[in-house]
């Protein structure tokens, strides 16, 4: 027997782009299955939606700069998506956060103005749509900050963060909080679970309050609850009598786990499936169309057939695009053509690590609708797209969110799935 399942759409990848595409397809009435090799980018990133941070100067208003940016970068994913679609996707995300499983938790902001939020090393990072728990870190009105750390979280150094913030003109000092934890809890997730506990939180706030000075806002590593972040954050603000903000940590990212849970819940609530551990190992074509992909289901292969596919497998970082030891670059999931490769004989890398590296814009070759070249029923979303340099432009999550949304809406429009029909 050939093991096969049929869907209206199959999404490959469970990072932000894949989960957004899957959830919106399911909400639009499509029978959708999301296949993923493992958990994706959500658990590694700060979970803010950075739409456009640098172009190349720091961007104050993404919506103001985007038209000019798009005109100057016709090969950028934003050129195919457009400002309205990015804004619409951001509003969709905000509404799903609000109606999601984390009671009271919200994402604030819009495309008209970037927040400028402290990073763990005390740099300032422009971001458009941010968890409510981070918004008070905005340097626009941050007059004095107290960065709180604990030696129980060894990758977060409050003194380093505070001294760099001060150098950037945000007066900040640091304190160490008295926390004693078992070794098992000495990481961001372990701490976040304690912050979910009102009793533990109250005791923590009581001890911390003694160390604070008047008029200081409190910056804490982003560990204020994984199940009840709104409760934890608002309770701390209340108990400390001042504004409190989270500062993203090194992975694993607790705000990223919250975002994953929100998007996963949206997918499941709309009837979509999620299959983890399901690396795509082969695919079948029918001319210029992809007809199915296969995964290992332990002993045998299972084929997933659909009229539409969304490739949201990531780029070099996830391993979906690789430069092999023979210096050949591949798209490993479906064997699609790539765009943005340096020409034969041209340098692939420059000596300066932080320079605009020639390889950095490589992605799956797509048309103006972000369909893969040579595979007309494959929509590409997220970091697999070419033409962007997210780590310089500060636009990775914006691309993931808007291109995942776009893929879902294009599939729904073309396949005529009944809007709002039960999946």
């Amino acid at each position: 027997m050939r093991s096969e399942l049929h869907y209206d759409a199959v999404v490959i990848g469970a990072g932000t782009a894949g989960l957004v595409a899957g959830a919106r397809l399911a909400e639009g009435g499509a029978r959708v299955c999301v296949l993923a090799k493992g958990i994706g980018s959500t658990h590694l990133a700060p979970a803010t939606i950075d739409v456009l941070g640098y172009a190349p100067d720091r961007v104050v208003s993404p919506s103001g700069v985007l038209p000019e940016f798009i005109a100057a970068h016709p090969g950028h994913p934003y050129a195919a998506l457009g400002v309205d679609a990015i804004a619409e996707a951001a509003r969709w995300l905000q509404s799903r956060v609000e109606s999601g499983p984390l009671a009271g938790y919200r994402y604030l902001g819009d495309l008209d103005r970037n927040y400028l939020l402290p990073t763990a090393v005390g740099a300032l990072r422009p971001s458009a749509i941010v968890p409510e728990t981070m918004a008070a870190g905005d340097s626009a009105d941050l007059e004095r900050a107290c960065v709180v750390g604990t030696r129980m979280l060894r990758d977060f150094h409050p003194a380093l963060c505070a001294s760099n913030l001060s150098r950037l003109g945000v007066p900040a000092r640091s304190v160490e909080a008295d926390i004693e934890l078992e070794r098992a809890d000495q990481n961001a997730l372990g701490l976040a679970r304690h912050f979910d506990d009102p009793g533990w939180r109250a005791a923590f706030a009581g001890r911390l309050a003694l160390k604070l000075q008047a008029d200081e806002r409190v910056g804490l590593p982003a560990v204020l609850g994984v199940r009840d972040p709104h409760g934890a954050w608002s309770d701390l603000e209340h108990r400390l009598g001042r504004q409190v903000f989270e500062i993203p940590t090194l992975p694993p990212s607790v705000p990223g786990m919250r975002l994953y849970e929100i998007l996963r819940a949206a997918l499941r609530a709309a009837g979509g499936r999620l299959v983890l551990g399901a690396e795509v190992i082969s695919s079948e074509r029918d001319g210029s169309r992809l007809s199915s992909v296969a995964t290992h289901s332990a002993g045998h292969e299972t084929r997933y057939a659909a009229p539409w596919f969304v490739l949201a497998s990531g780029g070099f970082n996830s391993g979906a695009i690789e430069l092999d030891s023979h210096w050949v670059t591949h798209e490993r999931v479906l064997g699609l053509s790539l765009r943005g490769l340096p020409a034969e004989g041209e340098p692939r890398f420059l000596g300066d690590y932080l320079a605009e590296q020639p390889m950095s814009q490589v992605g799956v070759a797509v048309d103006g609708e972000l369909r893969a070249e040579g595979a007309e029923n494959v929509l590409v979303a997220g970091a697999a797209l070419p033409g962007a340099v997210p780590w310089r432009e500060g636009c990775g999550e914006g691309i993931a969110l808007a291109s995942g949304s776009h893929a879902a809406q294009l599939v729904l429009a073309r396949s005529g799935a009944p809007a709002g029909a039960a999946a």
């Binding site: 493992g38 078992e182 990481n187 694993p252 289901s297 391993g319």
Partner: protein
């Protein structure tokens, strides 16, 4: 690569996968054990990191891997495809070989022996003994099995005895039923329901004489014994599928079917045994098979309403099939059935892990998240694909727990 534990191509493939670890910590955030106890420092530490220091024929350098429960969640969530749980299982085998196996690990890993000793006519007496606290305290002292560990009651009849009296009517559409030890000795009624559902869908059910799959031995690090046991099972099953490409093997015990499908081949280095390979390719988890039948339009859907609210927990081993949660898709076909999907990772028991006196408390802590979700859900019953997980859930919450197919059985009115 031939350093370290690797002796076969599959070992090298597993061990080679550690080079793909980018230290992203996703596995550490998912590990149910390291999240509750300092005794296990986490899959990344015990796996890809410590593995670099494990050299063949040299003493083990890292002892915490004995506290890994083998749930496999690390491998499932790794975005780079590192076979963390499998590498750790092999490291545990090496460690146990060096440390020696406690008598307990040689006894509780043999469900067939236990079932034969305590099941059937002996059941009333055996069950009295199991429920008798002084006996459990003695058992804890002598055998290191925790006095409060969930212990199922032996059934008074075996599944295979029932089946002998209720042979499947011939339809020409054969399917081989791998019923596992839990069904045979403890929950024969689950097997009866499986047979009735398969027959209702036109199958002629074949039940070969069969024994344990070896998973308890494997998870306790007794690899040599586990290999003997699983190969004996493969030899028993393979004649039924060898000559007929359309015949499949199906099982309701999701961890035992996973052992046949993948774990024995990968973890026990039996990738190339031809009998096991064929059995592995033809074996299906029950819900996986039923969902595929539905996709092909071959599953009967004459379901009557089941007006209940239930909680569904997909066990770690079920997730290790990499098939998503087909039970939820099947539940969606049943009118009236309201399902709360849990998102806790693990119930803690991990087969025999949570029975062991030094691990019982860890297992209860691991399960606390799930138990809280169950209690808070308002659901009357819990559906779960693995029998040891069901026993743990009932032990901890008092909620009745059944295999997902129970609800299909009810909806079919069988």
């Amino acid at each position: 690569m031939s350093t370290g534990a690797g002796t076969t191509p599959i070992d090298d493939l597993l061990r080679g996968s550690i080079d793909h670890c980018v230290k992203c910590t996703i596995c550490e955030s998912q590990c149910p054990v390291s999240n509750v106890t300092p005794l296990f420092p986490g899959p990344k530490y015990a796996g890809p990191q410590a593995e670099r220091y494990r050299v063949a024929d040299e003493p083990s350098v890292e002892w915490s891997v004995d506290y890994c429960s083998g749930c496999g969640i690390c491998s499932q969530s790794c975005p780079q495809g590192v076979k963390i749980a499998e590498v750790n299982a092999q490291a545990r085998n090496k460690l146990k070989k060096q440390k020696g196996y406690p008598l307990r690990d040689r006894i509780i890993t043999r469900p067939t022996w236990l079932g034969r000793a305590g099941g059937g006519p002996m059941a009333p007496l055996a069950n009295l003994t199991i429920d008798f606290k002084p006996f459990r305290i003695i058992g804890e002292k002598l055998l290191k099995v925790h006095r409060d560990a969930p212990a199922p009651e032996f059934a008074r009849h075996r599944f295979s005895s029932w089946f002998k009296k209720h042979p499947s009517p011939p339809t020409g559409k054969k399917i081989v039923y791998f019923h596992n030890c839990g069904t045979e000795y403890y929950e024969p009624w689950e097997g009866q329901k499986v047979v009735q559902i398969l027959e209702h869908n036109g199958f002629e059910v074949v039940v070969p004489k069969q024994d344990c799959c070896g998973l308890p031995l494997q998870s306790s690090g007794l690899f040599d014994d586990a290999r003997k046991v699983v190969l004996k099972l493969a030899r028993a099953l393979v004649p039924y599928v060898r000559d007929d490409p359309d015949t499949l093997i199906v099982g309701n015990a999701t961890s035992c079917t996973l052992m046949l499908k993948r774990e024995a081949r990968e973890i026990l280095s039996l990738e190339h045994d031809p009998d096991l390979k064929l059995v592995s390719e033809r074996t299906y988890d029950l819900c996986e098979l039923l969902l595929e039948l539905h996709d092909r339009g071959e599953l009967k859907t004459d379901f009557q309403p089941v007006n209940e609210h239930i909680f569904y927990h997909a066990p770690c081993q079920q997730q290790g099939h990499f098939i998503g949660k087909p039970a939820l898709d099947l539940f969606a076909l049943i009118p009236g059935l309201e399902v709360t999907e849990g998102n806790a990772r693990c119930c803690g028991i991990a087969g025999t892990y949570g029975l062991k006196v030094e691990k019982y408390d860890i297992a209860q802590k691991v399960g606390a998240d799930l138990f809280g979700q169950i209690r808070g859900s308002g659901a009357a019953e819990v559906a779960c694909d693995s029998e040891t997980c069901r026993w743990q859930i009932t032990h901890a919450t008092g909620h009745k727990s059944v295999h997902p197919i129970d609800y299909l059985h009810r909806a079919y009115g069988l």
